[in-house]
C-alpha cells in the first residue's frame, strides 16, 4: 500500500506537469547561428510581398519568434489566444509569401505562457531566448509582465515588440530592446477624456485593478481630465477581488456621467454584470478602455442583453484600409477561424511580420543587428507602415495606431457590426 500511494502521488505530479506543458511551444531546441550585424545605412522600406517570392524552403533550419503572452489565468488567456493566432499567421505569411526570414529560413513560433504574472513572464522570456535563441519576442498583453520582461531583455539582448501592453513606463525606460506598436496610456487617456467631453459628460467614474495598466491609466486619465476641466473619481480594486459591488456602489453614490471600465481578465466582465445589478449600467454609459468586448462570442455569452450599449476603445474598424499583408491576414484568418480577426490578432500578426523582416534586413540573428534594422527601416504593417523613432520619454521606439471608439448597439453584434462613434486625431 505504501508503494501504491507513492506511485499515485508521483503519477499525479507527472500528469500535472504534462498537462500544464500542453500549451507550450514544442519545437526542438537548437542553436541558431549568429553572425556580425549587417550595416544599415538609412531608413528603407521593408520588402513588400512579391508574387514571385518563393516560399521558404522547409529543409532549412527555422528561426524562432517568441510569443510571450498569457495563456492561463490570472492573466487574460482570451486575449493571449487572439494575439497568438495573429503571430502564428504572421509566421505563415512570412514563410509562404515573403520567402522566409534570414537567408530564406522559415519562421517558427515558440510560446511562453506568462500567466499575466511578472515573474513568470521574465522567466519565460529568458527560457525562450536561452532555449530557442529567438530573434525577438512579441505578444505582450499585460504591462506588468512587459515591464519585468524588458529588464531581462536588457540583459540578454533580444528585442521585444509590445503588442498590447500600454504602460508608458515600458518605452520610457529607453532600453534599446523595447519596441511598441500599441497605444500608450497618456494617448489612451487623452482619447477617453476627449470622447467624454465630446459627449457632454462632466463626471468620469474610473474603475480598474491594481496592475500597472490600471494604476498607470488612472493617473493619465486624472491628468487629462484635469486639463480638460472634467471631474474624475478613481476606484482601484485588488486584482484578486471577486465581488466588486462595494466599489461600484461607491461610484454610483458619486453620480458619474460615464464609467471607464479598465478591468482586466474576469473582473472586466464582473464590472458590467454587477454595475447592471445595482442599476449603474446601462443607466450610466460605460466605456471599455480596451477592445476586449470584441471577443464577441464570449462577451455575449456572458452578458446577453445586459451588454448592449457599451462603448469600446479600439484601434481597428472594418472600414480601415488594409495593406496587402493586412488583407492576406484578414482572408486567411476568416478561412481558418470562420470569423473576422480582432485588433489583438491584427497587431500580433503585424508584430511577427516586423520581427521577421527586421532579421531578414539585418541578414543575421544577431540582436544588435536586428535592433538596428528595427530602428532604421519602415515596415509594412497590417494597416499603414510602422517606424520606431528614438523619441523622447514614452515615445521611444513607439508607433501609435489609430484611436477609435465604437459601440455595440444591439445584442449579439460582431465587432464588424459595432458602430464607429468617435475618432481621435493624435499628433505627438
Amino acid at each position: 500500500m505504501k508503494k501504491r500511494s507513492t506511485l499515485l502521488v508521483g503519477l499525479l505530479v507527472l500528469i500535472s506537469i504534462l498537462v500544464s506543458s500542453c500549451g507550450g511551444g514544442a519545437a526542438p531546441t537548437q542553436q541558431a547561428p549568429t553572425s556580425a550585424p549587417a550595416p544599415v545605412e538609412e531608413a528603407t522600406q521593408a520588402p513588400a510581398p512579391q508574387e514571385t517570392e518563393p516560399a521558404a524552403p522547409a529543409n532549412l533550419e527555422p528561426v524562432y519568434i517568441g510569443a510571450l503572452l498569457p495563456q492561463s489565468e490570472p492573466g487574460a488567456p482570451q486575449a493571449g489566444t487572439l494575439i497568438l493566432r495573429g503571430i502564428e499567421l504572421g509566421a505563415e505569411y512570412v514563410n509562404e509569401e515573403l520567402g522566409g526570414s534570414v537567408d530564406g529560413r522559415p519562421v517558427e513560433v515558440v510560446i511562453g505562457d506568462d500567466k499575466g504574472t511578472p515573474e513568470v513572464g521574465a522567466t519565460e522570456y529568458r527560457r525562450l531566448v536561452q532555449e530557442y535563441n529567438i530573434i525577438g519576442a512579441t505578444g505582450q498583453y499585460h504591462s506588468s509582465v512587459a515591464l519585468a520582461a524588458i529588464e531581462v531583455a536588457k540583459e540578454l539582448g533580444a528585442p521585444i515588440i509590445m503588442t498590447q501592453a500600454s504602460s508608458k513606463a515600458i518605452t520610457e525606460t529607453g532600453y534599446p530592446q523595447a519596441f511598441r506598436t500599441h497605444l500608450i496610456d497618456p494617448v489612451r487617456a487623452l482619447a477617453l477624456v476627449d470622447f467624454a467631453k465630446s459627449q457632454g459628460y462632466g463626471k468620469i467614474g474610473y474603475i480598474a485593478d491594481n496592475t500597472d495598466f490600471g494604476v498607470g491609466l488612472s493617473a493619465a486619465v486624472e491628468e487629462a481630465a484635469a486639463e480638460a476641466g472634467l471631474e474624475v473619481m478613481s476606484t482601484i480594486y485588488d486584482k484578486a477581488a471577486v465581488d466588486l459591488t462595494p466599489e461600484l456602489l461607491q461610484l454610483q453614490a458619486w453620480g458619474p456621467d460615464v464609467i471607464f471600465n479598465a478591468g482586466t481578465g474576469n473582473p472586466e466582465h464582473i464590472i458590467i454584470d454587477q454595475a447592471y445589478e445595482i442599476g449603474l449600467f446601462p443607466e450610466t454609459p460605460m466605456v471599455a478602455t480596451s477592445d476586449w468586448p470584441y471577443r464577441s462570442d464570449e462577451y455575449w455569452q456572458l452578458h446577453g442583453d445586459k451588454g448592449v450599449g457599451i462603448y469600446i476603445l479600439t484601434s481597428y474598424h472594418k472600414d480601415m484600409a488594409l495593406t496587402t499583408a493586412g488583407q492576406w491576414f484578414h482572408d486567411r484568418y476568416m478561412q481558418k477561424y470562420g470569423e473576422a480577426p480582432t485588433y489583438s490578432s491584427y497587431n500580433g500578426f503585424g508584430d511577427a511580420l516586423i520581427l521577421a523582416m527586421a532579421a531578414k534586413i539585418a541578414g543575421s540573428t544577431d540582436y544588435d543587428a536586428i535592433i538596428n534594422a528595427l530602428e532604421s527601416n519602415e515596415f509594412e504593417f497590417w494597416a499603414g507602415t510602422v517606424t520606431f523613432p528614438k523619441g523622447e520619454g514614452a515615445l521611444w521606439h513607439q508607433w501609435t495606431p489609430p484611436v477609435l471608439i465604437t459601440q455595440y448597439t444591439a445584442a449579439n453584434q460582431k465587432q464588424d457590426e459595432a458602430t464607429l462613434v468617435y475618432t481621435f486625431n493624435y499628433t505627438p
Binding site: S5, L8, P77, N210, I236, D273, E298, L302, G304
Partner: protein, 298 residues
C-alpha cells in the same frame, strides 16, 4: 466620500451576501479537517469543478428554467468525485502505516489542485463562461440585488441548514462528531472509520462544489476561479477556529462584512488586506480563533 445610513446599509447587505457564500466554502474545508485532521489544498478546484458542472448541465441538459436541477446534479457529481478521489489518493494516508501523514496530505492535494486546474484549461479553452441564468433583480433594503446572487445566498443558507441537521440529528452526523473527537474510540463501537473518512471528504468537496454551482452565474466560470475562494476559506477557518463549523459560518459572514465596509471607509485597493488584519486581531484576542478550543497534550 459621504456615507449615508442608506449607503452604509447597502454595503452591509453586500457584505452579508458574499459572507454567506464564503461561509459555505469554509465549512467544507473545516469539516474535512475536523474529521481527517488534514487540509485539502484542492478545495478551490472542487469549487471550480462545481461551477463548470453547473455551466455544462444548464447549457446542454436542463436549460435556464431548471437551473436548480443543475445544482442538485452537481451535488451528486461532486459527491461521487469526492468518494473516488478520497479512495484513490487520501485513503492510503490512513489505511497504511504512513508516518508523515501531514506531508503526504499536503503534497497530494496540491498536486491534485495543479492537475485539475491545468486539465480545466486544456479542456475548456481560454474563454470565460457563465451558465445562462437570469433571475432578474430584486430590492433588499435600498440595495438592488441580482436574482442570481440572491438565489445563491438563499441556496447557501439552505445548504448550511441541511448540513447542520445532518450533523446534529442523524446517526451519520453523530458518527462524524464522534470521529472528530476520537478516531480510535469510534472503531471500538463498530464504526468503520475509513468509510466515515471517505463520506466526510465527499461531503466536504460537495459543499465546495455547491458553492461553485451557485456562484457560477454571479462570478463566472474559468479554470482559476477557485483560487481566491480557497484563500478566503483558509482565512475564515482560522478566524472561526480550526475544525469549528459554527466558527466557519460566523467567520465567513464577518469576513464578508469587514471586506465590504473596509473597502468603503478605507481603500478599495486593500480589500484582501482587511481580512488578514481582522484575522490578526482575532488571533491576538483569542489565539484559537472565535470558536476554537485549546488542544490538550499529554
Amino acid at each position: 466620500m459621504n456615507v449615508t445610513p442608506e449607503l452604509f446599509l447597502n454595503f452591509l447587505i453586500a457584505g452579508i451576501m458574499i459572507g454567506a457564500l464564503y461561509a459555505l466554502m469554509a465549512m467544507g474545508i473545516t469539516f474535512i479537517y475536523s474529521i481527517m485532521k488534514m487540509i485539502n489544498w484542492a478545495m478551490g478546484e472542487f469549487y471550480m469543478i462545481g461551477s463548470y458542472a453547473q455551466w455544462f448541465l444548464v447549457s446542454f441538459f436542463f436549460g435556464s428554467a431548471f437551473w436548480f436541477l443543475g445544482v442538485l446534479a452537481t451535488a451528486v457529481i461532486l459527491f461521487l468525485v469526492g468518494l473516488v478521489v478520497q479512495w484513490l489518493l487520501i485513503r492510503p494516508m490512513f489505511s497504511t502505516g504512513m508516518e508523515r501523514k501531514d506531508e503526504y496530505g499536503t503534497v497530494v492535494t496540491i498536486a491534485l489542485a495543479l492537475f485539475l486546474r491545468n486539465l480545466a484549461t486544456v479542456l475548456s479553452g481560454p474563454n470565460t463562461r457563465s451558465p445562462d441564468i437570469d433571475l432578474g433583480r430584486i430590492m433588499i433594503g435600498g440595495l438592488p440585488v441580482s436574482g442570481n446572487r440572491f438565489a445563491a445566498f438563499l441556496g447557501a443558507l439552505i445548504i448550511i441548514g441541511l448540513f447542520y441537521y445532518l450533523l446534529n440529528y442523524t446517526w451519520l452526523g453523530r458518527a462524524f462528531r464522534a470521529g472528530s473527537q476520537n478516531r480510535v474510540g469510534i472503531q471500538t463501537v463498530g464504526i468503520n472509520v475509513l468509510r466515515i473518512d471517505q463520506i466526510a471528504f465527499a461531503i466536504g468537496v460537495t459543499l465546495a462544489g455547491l458553492a461553485g454551482a451557485l456562484l457560477a452565474p454571479v462570478f463566472n466560470v474559468f479554470p482559476e476561479n477557485g483560487a481566491v475562494t480557497t484563500m478566503k476559506g483558509f482565512e475564515i477557518i482560522i478566524i472561526g477556529g480550526m475544525g469549528s463549523l459554527p466558527g466557519a459560518a460566523l467567520g465567513g459572514l464577518l469576513l464578508g462584512i469587514v471586506e465590504s465596509l473596509g473597502s468603503v471607509f478605507i481603500d478599495t485597493g486593500l480589500r484582501n488586506v482587511y481580512g488578514f488584519i481582522f484575522l490578526i486581531i482575532v488571533l491576538l484576542i483569542k489565539p484559537t480563533g472565535l470558536f476554537g478550543e485549546k488542544e490538550r497534550l499529554s
